[in-house]
């Protein structure tokens, strides 16, 4: 199909299922939620769209909500940063090994997708709870070193139900989404750029920062977007690993729609989060176009 303009029917046959899906299951529900955010609860089961801004005013006016949005942002940012830090070497390694080993390593990255998120998160609980595997291990070391005679009995570490546990859970769950785009862009990277850099006298370290990183930036950016945005809205992981101590905005929104039965306020919070995401993306696009303009 050289030119879809000349073959409109073919174009539409290909485009229709996707368009239908996007409109019916994404655009329309999103529009409904958006409209609801300007609505008012008139009875227990009924909400009317009245064009009121009270929910936005409430969300922006009450520091509790801004604080939890801000906290969600920095927790997600931190988790994204660690994801990137861990995923880059993994992706580099996978793109440099050949043959069977490459397939095995890729499969190892993808494997967690085959296991339900809920089960993976519960598995983390089993690892980190007071009587979990980490504390068992620590206790064993503690006793082997005979430290219980010096400092008294082993006190299990409280690893769960705090911000750290949530960040760790986010890193664990979203890691593959960071590895895969990074791997794709490193795999595409012509290795002779790296050799040329070494050949011209740059050390491995300089080659990494001056050549590998800038040339795999598209992968880094899509990895960050792919990981950061769903982290920001996640509610299952903070709910299970964070308990009441480490709530994120996702938990608040979920509660509005369920326990609090306040659809308009939940919708307004959702859209605030979305506006923030859009603003971040727009900022990035603006920055990218500006720095490109400077280079030429």
């Amino acid at each position: 199909m050289e030119n879809w303009n000349e073959n409109k029917s073919t174009f539409w046959i290909f485009a229709l299922p996707g368009t239908f899906w996007l409109v019916v299951f994404f655009m329309i529900p999103l529009a409904i939620i958006w409209a609801l955010s300007f609505g008012e609860q008139v009875s227990l089961t009924k909400t009317e769209v009245t064009g009121t801004l009270e929910h936005y005013i409430r969300a922006l006016g009450d520091p509790v909500y801004l604080k939890i949005i801000w906290k969600s942002i920095w927790m997600s940012a931190l988790a994204t940063f660690f994801c990137l830090l861990i995923a880059y070497p993994i992706a580099f390694l996978i793109s440099f090994v050949r043959g069977r080993l490459k397939m095995i390593l890729l499969a190892a990255v993808i494997l967690p997708f085959w296991i339900n998120l809920l089960i993976r998160t519960y598995a983390l609980i089993a690892v980190f709870r007071s009587r979990g595997f980490v504390n068992f291990g620590l206790e064993w070391v503690y006793k082997t070193l005979a430290m219980d005679r010096l400092f008294g009995p082993f006190q299990p570490l409280e690893l769960l139900y705090n911000n750290g546990a949530v960040i760790l859970g986010l890193i664990y769950v979203f890691m593959p989404f960071m590895v895969l785009p990074l791997y794709a862009s490193i795999e595409r990277l012509d290795k002779s750029y790296l050799e040329a850099s070494l050949d011209l006298g740059a050390s491995q370290f300089k080659t990494f920062w001056r050549v590998s990183v800038p040339l795999t930036m598209p992968g880094i950016v899509s990895g960050i977007i792919l990981v950061f945005i769903p982290m920001l809205g996640s509610f299952l992981i903070p709910d299970l690993l964070g308990g009441t101590n480490a709530q994120m905005i996702g938990n608040v929104i979920e509660r509005q729609f369920k326990a609090a039965n306040n659809y308009p306020f939940g919708a307004a919070l959702s859209f605030l989060l979305m506006y923030a995401t859009f603003a971040a993306l727009a900022l990035r696009a603006w920055h990218a176009s500006r720095s490109k303009g400077n280079d030429v």
Binding site: S192, D199, G201
Partner: protein, 370 residues
């Protein structure tokens, strides 16, 4: 010209059971334009990459300027490389590409600018300093790669198939320019190529490689006129091969019997070309053969031995400046003959189907052992 800048000593590189480079020893002299020539998979690129330091020999030694390179990483070697893909950094403009090698080794900023500008001027890209690589043609990108390597003032410049991605016209032009540049900057060039024209037109000396080993190292003229074996004769230029058997040796002449030519006596240069006996192969270059219509008198100059044969023209390819003909002999051996179209009516003299006489100087015939 007399001291070796690169010494390769009994270098072998194995990938598993395959020996990509097999016990190669050679010297590249200072300020020489040296070519590694061979078909793909002959190990020439592997050898070049070992000189650059991207891989290490399985055994053997590589010395650059007298120094063993075994533990020296690519960034510390006094050589620079022009990659086949050029590997011009796409995220830097021309100036920053050329300056990169100086910048990362801590050369002062004003120096970088001055030296990069000089290098760009040398390759004729002074007006392109702020262009990005995707705004350059293939030929210009190659010049950037050249300038980027030369600005480092390497002892040896390594070029990996530098012209393979260019179109024919540009390739010819770059061949001349590269040779000129080499003479101009006085840096040793080592080029890897599978293109014999490239090697012949540019190099001072050529190493012909096959299956990981070097078959012959010689100047272009010697390689073409005195190839050491059948492979070299066949790989460099076109050649007609006639199987034969040595039947005797008299003085400086060697007698060989072939099915096509009967018994012929070939002047035997002797010296280092070794003994000949048993089955050998006669080789004659297509352009050294005189061709004339049967019945036309040949008037060869006196005092020279000529070898003669007959045949029929069966195919003809016209190239403008010359024409290639395929002549079938009586025993149906195919024979390539090249004639220069030195006159406008040259093409009219012969035609497909004509019976022709072939003749060439006995002394132009090569005797090859294997």
């Amino acid at each position: 010209m007399s001291t070796p800048i690169i010494s390769i000593r009994e270098v072998t590189k194995s990938f598993g059971r395959l020996k990509a480079v097999d016990n190669v020893s050679l010297d590249v002299m200072t300020n020489e334009f040296f070519a590694l020539l061979g078909p793909s998979g002959c190990g020439k690129t592997t050898l070049l990459r070992m000189i650059a330091g991207f891989s290490n020999p399985t055994s053997g030694q590589i010395l650059i300027d007298g120094q063993d390179m075994v533990s020296i990483t690519p960034d510390k070697r006094p050589v620079n490389m022009v990659f086949q893909s050029y590997a011009v950094f796409p995220h830097m403009n021309v100036m920053r590409n050329v300056g990169y090698g100086l910048e990362v080794t801590g050369v002062a900023k004003p120096d970088i600018k001055k030296r990069a500008e000089q290098a760009l001027e040398r390759v004729g890209l002074s007006d392109f300093t702020s262009r990005m690589p995707d705004q350059l043609s293939g030929g210009q990108r190659q010049r950037v790669a050249l300038a980027r390597a030369l600005v480092k003032e390497p002892k040896v410049l390594l070029l990996d198939e530098p012209l393979s991605a260019l179109d024919a016209k540009l390739r010819e032009q770059m061949q001349m320019e590269l040779a000129g540049l080499q003479a101009d900057v006085g840096v040793t060039f080592v080029i890897v190529t599978h293109d014999q024209d490239e090697a012949l037109s540019m190099a001072d000396r050529i190493a012909v490689m096959r299956d990981g080993s070097v078959d012959q190292i010689a100047s272009p003229g010697e390689l073409y006129e005195y190839p050491k074996n059948r492979f070299v004769a066949d790989f460099i230029g076109k050649v007609n091969l006639i199987e034969g058997e040595v039947t005797g040796q008299k003085g400086d002449k060697i007698s060989i019997t072939t099915e096509m030519l009967g018994k012929v006596a070939i002047p035997f240069g002797g010296d280092d070309r070794g003994e000949f006996n048993g089955n050998v192969c006669l080789a004659i270059r297509p352009e050294k053969i005189n061709i004339s219509k049967s019945g036309v008198s040949k008037n060869h100059p006196a005092g020279k031995d000529y070898i003669e044969s007959e045949g029929k023209i069966v195919d003809w390819a016209y190239y403008g400046d010359c024409s290639h003909m395929i002549v079938a002999s009586k025993n149906n051996q195919r024979f390539g003959v090249v004639i220069q179209n030195s006159r406008r009516d040259s093409v009219d003299a012969l035609d497909i189907g004509d019976d022709v006489n072939l003749s060439w100087l006995a002394q132009d015939t090569l005797v090859l052992n294997d």
